[in-house]
Symmetry: C2
Subunit: 255 residues, 2 copies
């Protein structure tokens, strides 16, 4: 399949579009807000890995274009499958935002974003209470021979550490099972601001997980241990926005 | 005890000083580099919650003054004990630095710093390979009725999430047991860049924990999933240095 054919086949030019309209209609009927990830083709030809969020009337209230694109931009002959996010997508150009819907401050990210602390922090600084995301994570790491169990444990630890550190709930939905014969991890999970997993998918089939989200738990953490106004020290965080790569010179020696 | 008496009794005017010199002498004899936390009184009267790191000859190679001071600045009559870090200490004024000693890029932080993602990220951006810290964490949270088991789980999850997310090792040493009759958590631990706990103290007595640190594990993560130069997007992280508190206006709506 050529790149043009792939874009034609997999990308959406509108949301909802003809294929997704039935989902919106059904959600509106049942008064269910949802998150949906898709490949977005803009009228001017830009391509983003995008997600939207709806309210209980299936009205889109927020859109997120993925910022942390993993993988590579060129075909790797020796790899069992390709991880071409950097080829097929532009880096998201709208930042990490938070929307109030159904009375809750909601943020979104996509897949690999969940491994980056900045994702959650930028949303927490906008008072996010819940962050939702979808992910497709292959069980085999094509970049180096990573132990298979780490694919699941690092997925969970990333969300647990950052849910706690940002006093928010995280809800993550896997596309699991196999795609083109390649297995993907499951592990759809809901994580509390305590860092605890309060719901975890048990199968690799269609499965509904749910939890009783008490937003006051996050509020308590935001008032005390993670009271940003009292405890954060942005004057010491400068490198986070100044430096893209690692490999800096030695730090300051004591006087 | 008055504030002046407390400072006179608990603060160090030099490091090493008369009481700590024997530790330095013994460490040099056995060729062991170490980390030591203490209350620092500077010649001009400033007070910091400070830690130093030595090389194998007990020469101080790095100093860190604690940045994330938890607790409160005034006596709370109703609390079973006081948490007066904001009263007794100034916010550290030297940032998060990294030093090369014994061939390793080493960073330091102290106690509550381990719960803040910026702590690790600023050091990872200076190519830290190992971050060490000491902590005194009471088992009872005097600020709100937190479930006791969360004191241990949030301690571990913070280090696991951030060790993984920054491709570095974390080694944390507790002062545990009881102080003035108040119990503190144990849980001294060493965490790998995989996010896995590779050593964990089992008791609340003096105990030595150790692990076989393979620095190449961190290097692998830094080359791939956390290749900062390839994947970080500082243009979207601005709020982290612009905003101290939470409670921001609503995010941008989709167009």
């Amino acid at each position: 399949m050529s790149e043009e054919e792939a874009v034609e086949r997999f990308f959406e030019r509108s949301m909802p579009g003809p294929e997704t309209k039935p989902l919106f209609d059904l959600a509106a009927e049942f008064k269910i807000g949802f998150y949906l990830g898709y490949a977005e083709l803009t009228p001017d030809g830009r391509r983003f890995n995008t997600a939207i969020m709806t309210d209980e009337n299936a009205k889109i209230v927020g859109r997120y274009r993925k910022i942390h694109l993993p993988g590579h931009s060129h075909h790797i002959e020796t790899a069992p499958f390709q991880h071409l996010e950097k080829k097929f997508f532009d880096v998201g150009n709208e930042g990490f935002n938070v929307w109030t819907t159904q009375g809750v401050r909601m943020g979104m990210c996509i897949c690999n974003d969940r491994r980056w602390a900045e994702t959650y922090r930028v949303m927490a600084l906008q008072s996010a209470e819940i962050v939702v995301l979808g992910y497709n994570t292959p069980s085999v790491n094509i970049h180096w021979p990573e132990a298979p169990h780490l694919r699941m444990s690092s997925h969970l630890i990333s969300m647990q550490g950052n849910a706690y550190g940002n006093a928010l709930w995280v809800a993550a939905a896997a596309k699991c099972g196999s795609e083109d014969g390649f297995h993907m991890i499951g592990g759809s999970a809901i994580v509390s601001p305590t860092g605890e997993i309060t719901a975890l998918a048990q199968t690799e089939d269609d499965e509904l997980i749910f939890t009783n989200i008490d937003l006051a738990i996050g509020e308590t953490f935001r008032e005390h241990v993670f009271n940003f106004a009292k405890h954060r020290r942005p004057e010491h965080y400068g490198l986070i926005v100044e430096r893209t790569g690692a490999g800096a010179p030695l730090g300051k020696k004591p006087d």
